[in-house]
């Protein structure tokens, strides 16, 4: 097990609190699940390649904000982890295609099913989360072999 000190736990917990807060705000203000794969898929469907159409959707701003949030954090506090280098491009491409296809077929990802869905006590989301956690754990194990 990796050594965990109190600082690591505090940033993990506070990061989680912010993620939860944004999910609650999304529901409070717009009445929607804060699912990233859903927003990404809908944005692609709505925009049909036109930036003008994309710019009229809430999904567009939500996802831009997501990137901006990561940028703001790294500007304010820097990045305190080692960057992975020379990770295989073909593995990245395969991984992205599977994530894109799988989340659309299964109607959600870590945020939509794992956070918002379980918080709604949806049986579908609880099952989905167990399945993707399980298959990810098996995949990491097999890649290591």
């Amino acid at each position: 097990m990796v050594e965990v000190n109190s600082q690591v736990i505090v940033s993990a917990l506070s990061g989680g609190v912010l993620i939860g807060l944004s999910a609650v705000l999304m529901m409070l203000l717009f009445g929607k699940i804060a699912g990233i794969s859903g927003a990404f898929g809908q944005l692609i469907t709505i925009s049909k390649g036109s930036l003008k159409t994309a710019a009229s959707s809430w999904q567009f701003y939500f996802l831009i904000g997501l990137a901006l949030g990561g940028w703001l954090y790294s500007k304010a506090f820097g990045i305190n982890f080692d960057m992975r280098e020379n990770f295989s491009t073909s593995l990245l491409i395969l991984s992205g295609i599977l994530v894109g296809f799988g989340t659309q077929l299964g109607n959600g990802c870590t945020s939509g099913h794992g956070v918002c869905g379980i918080a709604r006590l949806s049986i579908r989301s609880i099952l989905a989360t167990c399945l993707f956690m399980g298959s990810a754990i098996v995949t990491v194990y097999l890649v290591k072999l």
Partner: protein, 145 residues
Amino acid sequence: MKPIIALSIGVLFGFGLTLAQMTNPLAVIGFLDITGKWDIRLAFVMCAALLITLVGYRILFSKLNKPLLSLKFRLPNKSNIDSQLIIGSIIFGVGWGLSGYCPGPAIAGITINPRESLIFILAMFVGVKAHHLSVEIQRKVKIAQ
């Protein structure tokens, strides 16, 4: 006004993901690597995010009939467990385990590790398109029958 609010919620989400180390694919893989040097951090992230969302949703749904800026709560209406949910979630998990990226962290990390994030997001786009195309083809086959 709505775009700015959607953007702000995204910023909060992306900031939280980065603070929580979710944009560090090595930490994600470390969390999934339960037989190796297990990195427990993301369990704290998930638990905190879930707890806030669970309590937040409860309060919202009991106090409000509709969201503040929209006409009604739009919750996912599917409740049955189908093969799409199962297969889609498993495929997503395999993709997630291969690179350590799921949709949110990949987008939030676009300025942190641009090379990996951009390749992953483009591949994810291809995966989403492939799914949309397969739905379209299935629909046409059904009509033809």
